[in-house]
């Protein structure tokens, strides 16, 4: 029995289909998600299969979509909405920050909002401006939201199913450039739950922490680094909120070094949070500062320049040079001093 090859887009489509089948409270809506099946075809065929009542187009207004979902969730449905691109979620920011994130807390648990906001995000597909933003930090900084971003097809399926089943609102960030990446997955599949990072590659010398679109880049860099004598561990966060301190800290305590790889502008991004947490928790195990390889602090550049903006293998390898392996005794041959 060979496992079929599945793209992340197909896995997401299956997750929606299976959720719609299993739970009649689930409704899918947004711009162009109906007949067209979404501009990325993630909702392809759902209207045909489940009818207009379960998967439908809305007027073109993102605050409206999210606010309408809030109302439907209060009324017992489980809305899964699509906002078409990262920057086109911004019109819904007030609804997300002031209502979606806060409803459970402000009603002391009486009004829950089980809803999923799917957002195709980040760059690398030659999109024009406003179509490539890495907006995860805005959501991750807003208490009350869960923030999820898959890097593999099986996680895409499993995390989306879990997001839909979750009693809390979930911002589900789909790395656009991974939509068409294929892997061998037999669906349905359930991977680890929210809040557990995955070690995608084991290594002893340094930990690369990545999530969503940068996971494959980090893995590629780890392979390339072998030649330079580095044995790198790669951690895929999977969920930014809740954050898996345990896995990340354990890895860095083991390796003594950490580089975070993330596409977003670095300043005050999620990468900063990871760096801050890692040094708080692993200070005495660290042989070098925690470094970040991120997008620059610039508006996302035009398509023809994006390759220069995005974290790539070379840039990750360069960061290893700054991990000061040489100006200190090689930690692999010494007991770690003062490890926490």
């Amino acid at each position: 029995m060979t496992t079929p090859s599945t793209t992340m887009a197909q896995a997401l489509n299956s997750a929606l289909r299976d959720a719609l089948t299993e739970d009649e409270r689930v409704v899918v809506f947004g711009e162009d998600v109906g007949r067209l099946g979404g501009v990325f075809r993630i909702t392809d065929g759902l209207t045909a299969e489940f009818g207009e009542d379960r998967c439908f187009d809305t007027p073109l207004a993102e605050a409206g979509i999210v606010g309408f979902a809030v109302g439907m969730a209060m009324g017992g449905f489980r809305p899964v909405v699509e906002l078409q691109f990262d920057a086109f979620a911004y019109p819904a920011f007030e609804q997300i920050a002031s209502h979606v994130a806060k409803m459970r807390n402000r009603t002391r648990g009486r009004v829950a909002l089980p809803m999923v906001i799917r957002i195709p995000y980040a760059g690398g597909i030659g999109g024009v401006e406003h179509h490539c933003d890495s907006s995860e930090a805005y959501y991750a900084h807003t208490p009350g939201l869960k923030v999820v971003t898959p890097a593999t097809a099986d996680d895409a399926y499993s995390l989306l199913r879990e997001a839909i089943e979750d009693p809390d609102p979930v911002i589900f960030l789909e790395p656009k450039k991974l939509y068409w990446s294929k892997s061998q997955v037999a669906l349905p599949v359930r991977t680890e739950p929210f809040g557990r990072a995955a070690i995608r590659r084991q290594g002893a010398d340094a930990t690369l922490v990545a999530y969503g679109p940068t996971v494959p880049v980090a893995l590629e860099a780890a392979e390339a680094a072998v030649e330079e004598g580095w044995d790198l561990e790669v951690v895929d966060l999977r969920t930014i909120v809740p954050f898996d301190d345990e896995t990340v800290a354990a890895s860095v305590r083991r390796t003594g070094r950490c580089v975070i790889v993330s596409e977003a502008a670095g300043f005050a991004g999620v990468g900063a949070e990871i760096a801050a947490r890692v040094q708080e928790r692993c200070f005495h195990s660290l042989h070098a500062p925690v470094l970040r390889v991120t997008g620059y602090d610039i508006p996302y550049p035009p398509p023809m320049l994006e390759q220069h903006h995005l974290p790539n293998v070379d840039r990750i390898l360069d960061s290893l040079d700054r991990l000061q392996r040489d100006d200190r005794p090689d930690p692999r041959f010494l007991p770690l001093g003062g490890a926490a």
């Binding site: 807390n105 009603t107 829950a112 979750d166």
Partner: protein, 370 residues
């Protein structure tokens, strides 16, 4: 309900040429055949009593701010007809979406006044159980709740519950993009929702003519295909008649309905505001002459639907209500600092557990000291 609504032509969506009123400023019946059915005397008597109690409640709440028992209070004194009419036009299972100004409406709905005032006292964001009362949390981000109301109404329609939603919004808030999106979603999905704009002439200090150049706020409805009406919002009979018709319109599958009620807030925006900075006493005086309670009382008395005893009973009920409120608000609310970490998520994240534990030790250390 008039025939006009199903006439076909788009102009049928426009509001009446003049705000609908059943009562003159002094409570006489307006001449001419009314375009909306007259509410029953029983309903009007209920409205009278609720307005008397509501006004007393409101005055008491304002007094509580002076004693420091309430952090802030946005009064709806002057808007009693809308506050009470909006609630009485609904059935029990219907949903009500208030702003911060609807405290009077919420007590009319039967929510415990201390629960209503928790937000403004400062001990909780929302003191009552929205699902129990079918009342959304009082909303401060303007117009945002109108979209929720559209979504909830659509959900009720999908469930076939026969329930509708009514969303309150101020004149100022109609300028927000969310109001536009709410009207549009409601219309496109034919959601059974009534939008009640309490046009009290001001958004804090900003008068209506800075807010819109439209002939009226009710003229916005046609741009969404929504049937609209404007009413004298200080005429309790008109408020009840039109809102009941609007509710019926929504409930019977005709989609949303937009009502603009002309009214006036007699107090400042909240106790923290100073209305003398932006309007004259004379203006307020003029509106005081259109007092909804006095008008309804005169009307009902004239028709023999209200006796001296009824009036006295309402006054007594109002005093008792205020007294109970004073007592209840004298008790300091129970505060549980560690509760801050509850309900951020269904199950706290490990990080929240850490933070909670750290606050717990702080509090224990403090306690040990005292």
């Amino acid at each position: 309900m008039t025939d006009r609504q199903h006439d076909g032509g788009p102009e049928a969506l426009l509001p009446s040429e003049r705000p609908v009123r059943f009562l003159t400023d002094t409570g006489a019946a307006v001449r001419g055949r009314p375009r909306y059915p007259l509410p029953s005397p029983e309903t009007l008597r209920r409205a009278y009593r609720a307005m008397v109690v509501g006004r007393r409640f409101d005055a008491q709440a304002t007094a509580l701010t002076k004693q420091g028992r309430l952090a802030v209070y946005p009064s709806s004194h002057g808007q009693e007809a809308c506050q009470v009419g909006a609630v009485l036009a609904l059935q029990d299972g219907d949903w009500f979406f208030p702003t911060y100004r609807e405290s009077m409406a919420l007590v009319t709905r039967g929510i415990e006044p201390t629960e209503v005032l928790a937000l403004l006292r400062g001990d909780a964001h929302c003191g009552y159980d929205p699902h129990r009362h079918h009342v959304a949390p009082q909303c401060t981000p303007l117009a945002t709740q109108t979209v929720h109301a559209a979504g909830l109404a659509y959900a009720e329609q999908r469930k076939g519950s026969g329930r509708i939603a009514l969303a309150c919004v101020g004149d100022g808030a109609t300028s927000e993009g969310d109001f536009h999106e709410a009207l549009n979603f409601a219309a496109v999905f034919k959601a059974p929702v009534v939008f009640l704009v309490q046009n009290n002439q001001y958004a804090i200090s900003v008068p209506l003519d800075r807010q819109t150049a439209a002939p009226s706020l009710a003229h916005k409805g046609i741009g969404y295909g929504i049937r609209s009406e404007r009413i004298d919002g200080n005429d309790p009979v008109a408020v009840l008649a039109v809102l009941s018709a609007a509710a019926e319109h929504a409930r019977s599958g005709h989609g949303p309905f937009l009502v603009e009620a002309h009214t006036y807030r007699l107090e400042s925006h909240t106790n923290a505001d100073d209305a003398t900075r932006y309007r004259t006493d004379a203006e307020a005086e003029e509106w005081r002459r259109r007092d909804p309670i006095a008008r309804l009382e005169a009307y009902l008395r004239r028709r023999g639907h209200l006796s001296d005893e009824d009036v006295a009973e309402a006054a007594t009920a109002a005093e008792e209500f205020a007294a109970r409120l004073r007592t209840a608000m004298n008790a300091a609310p129970e505060l549980t600092p560690l509760g801050m970490f509850d309900h951020v998520y269904d199950v706290p994240t490990p990080q929240l557990d850490e933070q909670r534990a750290s606050l717990r030790s702080e509090l224990e250390a403090e306690e040990a000291l005292t």
